[in-house]
Structures are given as structure tokens and as C-alpha cells.
């Protein structure tokens, strides 16, 4: 392929061809196009069977049981359902919530809204490594804390949080509910909902070679967490998420999750392949000098590499590599404000360095030749911009 090298797999992944084929079988007159809620005829029953098969596939992939799974339109909706659902259901018990400053906007913005509605939210500041120490969570808990939210794998730097330790703290603290945003986790590291000990976990299909527009919220059956629904209608998904399920999306998610997790040996081989490519990318780019790595590499998934470049303006860096690379920047450069990444700022990077950062995210189709093209493109761009900038 002659176009820009795609290194933005953390933003989204292409749909696996086998997944697309599964989805296509749910759309046309000769396929499973029926309403999965219409159990009075074969068309509906066929779609219902595909939905339940997908439910079993997703549950198996993340260490859950099928009954714990609620399909949603994606991780954002799952996060909203978890956060508002718990906050509303348990509001008589308390109005305090704990989260971290490096969560995704799909978690932080619901908390901003809850603050407007009178809840108190404690925002933990991670270590420079990106890690939220479990002791920080313990110190933040208050008698009326009803929920803790922490992401599993950070979407910008790839750091994996110690969810199991946090879950134990929550359990000891009167059973404070723990919500985990695991949108980036599936396919990048092992995910075991039961072993993590969380009450709620959000997952997304399109980060794992499934379709956009579908995700799920896992609600622990063992721990008995309760939610208030956010939308009402047909009572689908145990009344927690009304609305006709999109059979093709759900089937696609099931197929995608099954593919990325079914074969342990293949999963580990792929993880090692990606780790080698990521190391090659880092060593190659590092040679340009004054490159800082964001996040503790010992705690990060190999798919993500986040680097800050001294002496380079962020928007220009992204513009310079754009003809050659599809990557994300450390700044919200979609706007003219060029706002620095709040995640990198929370880790202590100054505003300029946070802006002059690139997130490289590798995936299934990344090749060694692409990594070498990326090294050449970034090196040339940084050298040129440093020269223009008089650095």
C-alpha cells in the first residue's frame, strides 16, 4: 500500500474480513435480518440465536458469563450507563465518586455532568509513569463513596492499571462499586472480568477488529450491582438498555472478540511480534535525539507508544508527518486552540511537550517495512522542524 502508514489502531481498527462476512449474513432477505426480539417466528428466532451466540462469544473472550452482558452502541454508552446508572440507583447511599484525571472523555464528561447535578468527584492524579497507585484510591474513599471508575488500558499511553488491587480495596470499603473502562484492552492484553473483580466493565468492538457502533457493559452477577436504566422502550437487555439490537453489529462483535482471544498461542505470538515492532519503532525514532517516552514501558501494552519531541511545535509535527503517517497527536489539534493532551499534562509534561507528542498505535496489519517508513518520516520531520525553529 502506497498511502500513509496506518499507526492509529488505538483510534479504531479495520473490520476483520471474516467479521465483515458474518455481519453481511444478517442484513439481506436471505440472511438473519429479523428482529431478534420477535420470537414468534423463525426470522426473529434466527436473529435471536445469533445475538445469543455473540453474547456467549463476547462473554467468553472477557471472562464473564453471558447473562452479565448488556449490548450497547459502544463503550461511550456503556460508560454512561455504568456511571449514571450506579449514581442514580445508589444516590440515597452517597454522592461521592472517585476517578482519575487520565480517564477517557467518555468517563470524565459524565462525571462533570454529575458534578453539575450535585455529586462530588475526586480526580486522582497518576504518578509520572501514568500509574494510579491503589493506595491513592484508598486515600480518596469517603464514607459516602458509591463508585470508583478507572480505565484498564489508557488510550493515550497504554499504561495498564492494577484493577485487581483496586477492586480488593473497594470490596473492603463496604463494597464500593468499581467500574472499569476496558475499551482499549481486548486484543491488547488478557481481560478477565471475574478475575479483575470489577462490578462493571465497558468494552468496545471497533478497537478489536469489529464494527463501530457496538459495545457492551458487563454487570457482575456475583456482586449484585444494580443500575437505573438511561433509556426506556422495549425492555431489551434486561430492561437496562431498551432498543432493538442491531443483529449484524452484535454478531460482528462476537466474531471479532472470538478471533482475537480464541487461540492463546496465537495471541501471545502476536503480542510478541507487536512488541518487537514497537521496540524497533522506538529505537529508530529515539536516534533523532531529545525524545521522551510517555508512560512506564514496563506497565504498557506493546501496541501503544507515546513520544514527546523537544524543540518541535506539535501541530507542525503532525502536519509534517501526515502525508506519510496516520497517527494521533498529543494535542487536540482538530481545533485551532491546539489544546495540549490532558493525559500528558496530568503526568507532568509541560504544555509544549504535551503538544509535541505523537501516539503510535500498532496493530494486526502493521509490518516491519511500515515501521521503517514511520521512522524515516518522523526523523525527517523532526529534523526539518527543529532546523526551521532554530533549535
Amino acid at each position: 500500500m502506497n498511502g500513509p502508514v496506518y499507526l492509529d489502531y488505538a483510534a479504531t481498527t479495520p473490520v476483520d474480513a471474516a467479521v465483515a462476512a458474518t455481519m453481511a449474513q444478517c442484513l439481506t432477505i436471505d440472511g438473519a435480518f429479523g428482529n431478534p426480539g420477535s420470537n414468534g417466528h423463525d426470522h426473529g428466532a434466527r436473529a435471536h440465536a445469533l445475538v445469543e451466540a455473540a453474547r456467549a462469544q463476547v462473554a467468553a473472550a472477557v471472562g464473564a458469563v453471558p447473562a452479565e452482558l448488556i449490548f450497547t452502541s459502544g463503550a461511550t454508552e456503556a460508560n454512561n450507563l455504568a456511571i449514571f446508572g450506579v449514581a442514580n440507583y445508589y444516590r440515597a447511599q452517597g454522592r461521592h465518586i472517585v476517578t482519575s484525571r487520565t480517564e477517557h472523555k467518555a468517563v470524565l464528561d459524565p462525571y462533570r455532568e454529575l458534578e453539575r447535578r450535585g455529586w462530588r468527584v475526586s480526580y486522582l492524579v497518576p504518578e509520572r509513569s501514568g500509574v494510579v497507585e491503589p493506595a491513592q484510591v484508598l486515600r480518596a474513599l469517603e464514607p459516602d463513596t458509591v463508585l470508583v471508575s478507572l480505565m484498564h488500558v489508557n488510550n493515550e499511553i497504554g499504561v495498564i492499571q492494577d484493577i485487581e488491587a483496586v477492586a480488593k480495596i473497594c470490596a473492603r470499603h463496604g463494597g464500593v462499586r468499581l467500574h472499569v473502562d476496558a475499551a482499549q484492552s481486548v486484543g491488547k492484553c488478557r481481560v478477565d472480568f471475574a478475575a479483575l473483580g470489577a462490578d462493571l466493565m465497558s468494552v468496545s468492538a471497533h478497537k478489536a477488529y469489529g464494527p463501530k457502533g457496538v459495545g457492551a457493559l458487563l454487570v457482575s452477577a456475583r456482586r449484585g450491582v444494580q443500575l437505573e436504566p438511561l433509556q426506556f422502550g422495549g425492555g431489551q437487555e434486561r430492561g437496562l438498555r431498551s432498543g432493538t439490537l442491531a443483529t449484524h453489529q452484535v454478531a460482528g462483535m462476537g466474531a471479532a472478540f472470538a478471533l482475537v482471544t480464541a487461540d492463546s498461542a496465537r495471541f501471545e505470538a502476536e503480542r510478541q511480534r507487536i512488541a518487537a515492532l514497537q521496540n524497533r519503532l522506538f529505537r529508530g525514532i529515539e536516534a533523532v535525539g531529545e525524545v521522551l517516552r510517555n508512560g512506564d514501558p514496563a506497565r504498557c501494552v506493546p501496541q501503544l507508544l507515546n513520544l514527546s519531541f523537544e524543540g518541535v511545535e506539535g501541530e507542525s509535527l503532525l502536519a509534517a508527518v501526515r502525508p506519510h503517517l496516520a497517527v494521533s497527536t498529543g494535542s487536540a489539534c482538530g481545533s485551532a486552540s491546539n489544546e495540549a493532551s490532558y493525559v500528558l499534562r496530568a503526568l507532568g509534561r509541560d504544555e509544549r511537550l504535551a503538544e509535541s507528542s505523537l501516539r503510535f498505535s500498532l496493530g494486526r496489519y502493521t509490518t516491519e517495512a511500515e515501521i521503517d517508513r514511520a521512522i524515516d518520516a518522523v526523523t525527517a520531520a523532526v529534523r526539518r522542524l527543529r532546523a526551521i525553529g532554530g533549535a
Partner: protein
């Protein structure tokens, strides 16, 4: 962010990037790296009587966004052969339209204007000393 063809062309080529030296060169800068935008111009004047002195060469350096780099490059390139004047060849608003610079970035073009004015003042001072 998407950029106009003109912005991309000057950002990608930036032929006038660099510095000048010599006793007819004036240097001026504005903005700051910490603030996210810094621009410097070097202007070399032809050895002719003041005030008709024309610009023999101009160079720029910029720690800045692509729009700012493109505009600084354009200013430096088209200045050669022109009478040395404190103002930019066009108003900041006209330049912003020419390069399709978002309104939020107009302040950065004012930094280009300030750097140019400072360089012109420095160059004129050099030749009158």
C-alpha cells in the same frame, strides 16, 4: 486540521528558512517558544541610499504552527527586491484570507507582523550607523 494548498506549499517548501549574517543584516523576533509561537526574520538590505533601500535577502525561523510557518516563509520570499518597509506586504486580515488561516489564529499572524517590523527596524538601524 486541514490546510489550504497555499499553506501546505509554503509549509512544506519553506525555501526562505534560515539565517543571514553580515553588516547589512538586521534581525528581529517576536513571540516565545513557551507561548507556542516564535518567529524571527533576518533582513539584508541592498547598498543603496536611504530611504530607497531595497531588500537583498530575507530569511526566517519559526517555532510555530503550519499556518504561521507558511506565512513567514511567504513574507520572506516575496520581500526580496521590495523597498524595505515596516509593514507586511498585505494586511494581516488579507493574509489570513489568502492562506485560509482560522480566525482563532490571527494573533499568530500579528506575531509575524511584529517580528517583521522589528527586523526592518534593526536593518535600517544597521545601515544608518
Amino acid at each position: 486540521m486541514n490546510y489550504s494548498d497555499l499553506t501546505r506549499r509554503y509549509f512544506e517548501t519553506a525555501r526562505a528558512a534560515g539565517v543571514l549574517s553580515g553588516n547589512r543584516v538586521g534581525r528581529g523576533a517576536a513571540g516565545s517558544r513557551r507561548g507556542g509561537t516564535w518567529v524571527q526574520f533576518d533582513i539584508e538590505l541592498e547598498p543603496a541610499p536611504y530611504p530607497e533601500r531595497r531588500i537583498a535577502a530575507a530569511r526566517f525561523l519559526a517555532f510555530a504552527c503550519p499556518h504561521t510557518i507558511a506565512v513567514a516563509a511567504w513574507v520572506a520570499e516575496r520581500a526580496v527586491g521590495e523597498v524595505c518597509a515596516a509593514g507586511l506586504p498585505e494586511s494581516v486580515h488579507a493574509i489570513s484570507r489568502r492562506f485560509e488561516v482560522p480566525a482563532e489564529k490571527l494573533g499568530r499572524l500579528l506575531i509575524v507582523e511584529d517580528a517583521w517590523a522589528a527586523a526592518v527596524a534593526a536593518a535600517k538601524l544597521r545601515v544608518t550607523m
